[in-house]
Subunit: 198 residues, 2 copies
């Protein structure tokens, strides 16, 4: 029997040049976002400034939202790191309910700090980060805080939506940001307290 290359299995990783271009594109995109604002960055301009073809940009990132998602992902990794290994109560060590409250605060601050990017990385046509780290983390904490609840899954979905939705969808303008975000943090704490109270 011959060793067939199975169509599933770990997809071979990116070729070196492709990886290089990806990194370069993300860097250029970040520059352009800082310079022009996310909503003024066009794919043509990005490709040109990166010295690459448009086709390459789309092959790497699939979609306009995809690029911004990739840029944001680098920040997101730092955030995740704080959550997984940083000091309590955001990091491990505190009771689940407290971690949940701390997570909400940190997440709201994170989103507010990267508002334009976060919005630009939304793609309503093909939605759902599906297994977004936030969802995963909230689900875990919720299961720990309310071990006897069924439906932790959908409840976690609703909590994440409560956390991210107002900023991503409902909050009008960036400039009215800070005040509202503070209020959102406070009411998130109320929400979590009552939800996890015995």
């Amino acid at each position: 029997m011959e060793p067939v290359a199975l169509p599933w299995g770990p997809p071979r990783e990116e070729r070196a040049d492709a990886a290089r271009n990806r990194a370069h594109l993300i860097g250029v995109a970040r520059e352009m976002v800082a310079e022009l604002g996310a909503c003024n960055v066009t794919m043509d301009a990005l490709a040109e400034r990166a010295g690459l073809g448009k086709g390459t940009v789309f092959r790497r990132f699939g979609t306009r939202a995809g690029i911004f998602h990739a840029v944001l992902d680098e920040e997101e990794a730092l955030f995740q790191h704080r959550v997984m290994t940083g000091p309590a109560p955001l990091g491990p060590g505190a009771p689940a309910a407290e971690r949940l409250a701390a997570f909400g605060r940190a997440r709201l601050e994170f989103l507010a700090a990267h508002l334009a990017l976060a919005r630009a990385s939304l793609d309503v046509a093909r939605p759902v980060p599906g297994q977004s780290p936030s969802l995963f983390h909230v689900r875990m904490l919720l299961a720990e805080a309310c071990p006897d609840d069924a439906l932790t899954g959908t409840l976690a979905l609703q909590l994440v939506a409560a956390l991210e939705g107002p900023v991503l969808l409902y909050l009008q303008r960036q400039d009215e940001g800070p005040l509202v975000v503070d209020d959102l943090i406070t009411s998130w704490q109320v929400l979590v307290e009552r939800l996890t109270a015995r």
Copy 2:
């Protein structure tokens, strides 16, 4: 002193032909959505099928999302009517906490029934229905159920996001719909119960 036409004040209402065209466009759009699915309806095709110029379509509705929003609004009005004047607990007469739970159930069923349209009427670029009726209603019920809470405003925002976000943003595909929606309804009830419990 002469009677100046003040730039504010009630904006003069639509001319008769404009109103006729708006109604006609909404009708044609509804047909096309039923026939092709919202995401396959283009503004060019809509204008052509309605026998009107493209400029007219955009003048009336501003944006692609605007049309779907207008189509959905007609259904939404029926929904609002049930909420405002229908039988309890969705309509008036029941305690606020119960009305909140009933509202969530009804809203989720409504969104599930009009999923494609609801998604198409989202506009991430210019977000916020600002004073959406749902937000208004949840805020009112919440203030009634928890009269001594401060921050009812942002909490209501978070609740609406918890209600609509999962369906609009996170839920993957239409076909996995019914089951998940049932679970969402149940966990919404848990959420409201705990939130309004003394």
